[in-house]
């Protein structure tokens, strides 16, 4: 850590360079997070590991929204924490403007975090009940004083409240005086306070009522245009993810099963897990009830401490063959679609990838 100061300067210089629209702003390479399982009280010995995230790679382009979907326990929230460097990665890299943020610490990390902010799931527990809204949002300026001089902070917080559609006069109120939707707006204002380039949203609307969800989603889309933000949008609700995302990654048991544009994933899914997931989503249209193509998976997600060999989905997959148990499929454009001009030609980690439109079937 002797070269910390020179390193810091290099990082600061790198962070100042703007990224043009459509170029990768965040590059994740083979990211892994294993949580150790220990045994014994005094002499702890490691007996295994929960492989929460086990080799995930993707790019986030400037100005886009990348949706990440998956069931609970698939590691999507751990990915969010790794991108913020709130958890130390076991292996792999996260490049932000060419800097590997998993290796950074101290001042350099602080500078990076200014540009990558997070909006949390539960607006009821992610705001300190003993702080006023002004203090909650203003606290970010205490940590990063260079963003707003002391005298201007109050006005800046009021501006932020206005931007997210709250009355600026509410600055002295406490979180309990707001409804769930309003609290989530406060969370978003806090995320915006430092003018970040990337916002990582971990299930930002799942705790909200349907009519309020739409308000918050619309707000987030408006802010993206206004401040030129890139979003990583993590959620389990596939309909919302489709609505807001430009590209979508589907995770299963710590790995990406399939990734592509929203049209590729939703209209031309090639991975059986994506197909099952999409077909299980209840469609708000009773006409479609009878003739939908429904794939009902059996069983539960296996434990990430002891994932199946080969393809992780094989224990629940109806297509599984011997090859799936021995060979791990890689996330790449399947061979049969390679070079073809079809929307099925996107990255999918399945040996037997084939197209099946489950959303429009029937």
């Amino acid at each position: 850590m002797a070269d910390l100061s020179t390193n810091d300067e290099a990082v600061a210089a790198a962070l100042d360079t703007p990224v043009r629209r459509g170029e990768p702003i965040l590059q994740v390479r083979n990211l892994k997070k294993h949580f150790p399982l220990t045994q014994g009280i005094l002499f702890k010995k490691q007996v295994g590991a929960v492989k929460a995230v086990d080799g995930v790679s993707f790019d986030l382009y400037q100005g886009e929204t990348l949706g990440i979907v998956g069931e609970s326990g698939c590691g999507k929230s751990t990915v969010a924490k790794l991108l913020m460097n709130l958890e130390r990665a076991t292996a792999g890299e996260v490049f932000y403007k060419g800097q590997d943020i998993t290796k950074l610490s101290g001042r350099a990390l602080k500078a990076v975090r200014r540009n990558i902010q997070m909006v949390f799931q539960d607006p009821y527990t992610s705001l300190n009940p003993r702080m006023t809204v002004g203090d909650i949002i203003g606290e970010t300026f205490d940590i990063h004083p260079e963003v707003a001089p002391k005298g201007e902070r109050r006005r800046k917080v009021q501006d932020l409240l206005d931007v997210v559609g709250l009355n600026p006069e509410y600055i002295n109120r406490y979180p309990h005086q707001f409804s769930g939707g309003q609290r989530q707006r406060i969370g978003i204002a806090r995320g915006l306070a430092l003018n970040p380039e990337i916002i990582i949203c971990d299930e930002p609307v799942s705790a909200l009522d349907v009519s309020v969800q739409a308000q918050v989603i619309n707000l987030m889309e408006k802010l993206q245009d206004e401040f030129n933000l890139s979003y990583v949008f993590i959620a389990h609700d596939l309909s919302i993810v489709r609505h807001i995302s430009d590209r979508v990654g589907v995770m299963y048991l710590g790995k990406l099963a399939e990734i592509g544009t929203d049209e590729e994933i939703y209209e031309h899914p090639t991975h059986p897990y994506t197909q099952a997931l999409l077909s299980a989503v209840p469609v708000p249209d009773p006409q479609a009830r009878a003739d939908r193509d429904r794939i009902i998976l059996t069983g539960d997600v296996p434990s990430p401490a002891n994932p199946p060999s080969g393809c992780r989905f094989r224990t629940r997959c109806w297509k599984a063959q011997d090859k799936c148990a021995t060979e791990q499929p890689v996330l790449a454009v399947p061979e049969r679609f390679r070079g073809q001009k079809t929307l099925a030609a996107h990255e999918s980690a399945c040996h037997f990838a084939e197209e099946r439109d489950v959303v429009h079937a029937g």
Binding site: S179, D209, A214, S239, A276, V283, P284, Q287, I296, T298
Partner: protein
């Protein structure tokens, strides 16, 4: 082992010469007396369920959908809760007038409930087998050994793999979907005539949700049970319901058979809800958002409770509470089962 015997005789319609709906709620009011005033959670709700029928009660948080269900089950906390007026008729008998003893005989045996959060609804220090068997021991006086055998049968019925080996496991050893199956098994234990499911799949992942809803539908068919499904998910409702009651601020604002409701909503709130959900099969532009927030039940707006959020509100809406009136076709012919509580339902459905 876990297959259901399809040849088992369907239980014949049970005792009693009562005709008409299985359960009928009439003009039910529930209020909560709090330090800040009286919160009117339910303001005159009417609905009915027949045997074998699925009624979905749709609403946002605070709309009174769960409170109505708790009043039916008789598990409302009283005080602070109070039922100032209304009737809950089960097979024609008013349950609100029954003694505690009589209600206890109905609860569990005739009407059972499935709760949202299986982890907190199951006792963590008792094995699931013990908790399932409790139904038989308490209601039917079975011995511990017999109750356990029946518990295993039930777990088989709801397709929990290796039921025999897992009967002595504790709730934390099961996954979320499996725990919800145990809740369903518990509700089914005494083969009730009516099941109230309060957000049974909200805490579950979509793939597991599909499994659980399928199971519930299958068992409902087998036993010819009535089902009241309380949810906020318009997708789930479209998949399983026969008819729908949409609740807002303690009232039913619209009632309709499932196909009708989605095709032609007759209340601006229902329309707003349908427009505000993103669709899986199409990528829209901006989502329609119902402006504002659900009302505070301590001070429900005068007139129609939805008027501050309604795009069509007029002065009439701000002063007069709209009654739940039958909805008709444009030429005046009947639309069976359809009702709307909007002064301007004609414009909403036909306009």
């Amino acid at each position: 082992m876990s297959t259901i015997n399809k040849n088992a005789t369907v239980p014949a319609p049970r005792e009693g010469g009562h005709t008409g709906p299985l359960l009928e709620v009439k003009d039910l009011h529930v209020e909560f007396h709090t330090r800040d005033g009286v919160a009117k959670a339910v303001n005159g709700v009417n609905y009915s369920v027949d045997a074998g029928e699925t009624l979905a009660v749709l609403g946002e948080s605070g709309s009174g959908k769960s409170v109505t269900a708790q009043a039916i089950m008789g598990i409302l906390d009283m005080p602070p809760g109070k039922i100032p007026q209304g009737e809950i008729l089960f097979r024609g008998e008013d349950m609100l007038k029954m003694s505690d003893e009589e209600r206890r005989k109905i609860r569990g045996r005739k009407i059972a409930m499935i709760f949202q959060d299986a982890l907190s609804s199951l006792n963590p220090v008792l094995s699931v087998g013990y908790q399932l068997g409790e139904m038989f021991r308490v209601h039917q006086g079975l011995s511990k050994k017999d109750a356990k055998t029946r518990a295993i049968e039930l777990m088989d019925k709801v397709k929990i793999p290796a039921a025999k080996a897992r009967v002595s496991d504790y709730p934390h050893q099961f996954s979320g979907g499996m725990r919800q199956r145990i809740m369903i098994a518990m509700a089914l234990a005494l083969e009730p005539e009516l099941i109230i499911a309060d957000e049974p799949t909200t805490a579950l992942d979509v793939t597991v949700q599909a499994q659980v809803m399928d199971l519930l539908a299958e068992l409902q068919r087998e036993y010819n049970m009535g089902l009241i499904l309380i949810t906020h998910d318009l997708g789930v409702v479209a998949d399983v319901a026969d008819k729908i009651a949409v609740m807002y601020a303690g009232r039913i604002v619209e009632q309709a058979p499932v196909h009708e409701l989605y095709a032609r909503p007759a209340h601006p709130y229902t329309r707003g809800l349908l427009d505000s959900i993103p669709r899986l099969d199409q990528k829209g532009q901006e989502l329609y958002a119902i402006k504002g927030l659900p009302p505070n039940l301590l001070k429900v707006p005068t007139g129609c409770a939805f008027n501050p959020r309604c795009p069509k509100a007029t002065d009439l809406c701000r002063t007069d509470i709209p009654a739940l009136v039958p909805v008709t076709e444009q030429d005046g012919s009947d639309l069976p089962g359809r009702k709307s509580a909007c002064h301007f339902w004609k414009e909403t459905i036909h306009g």
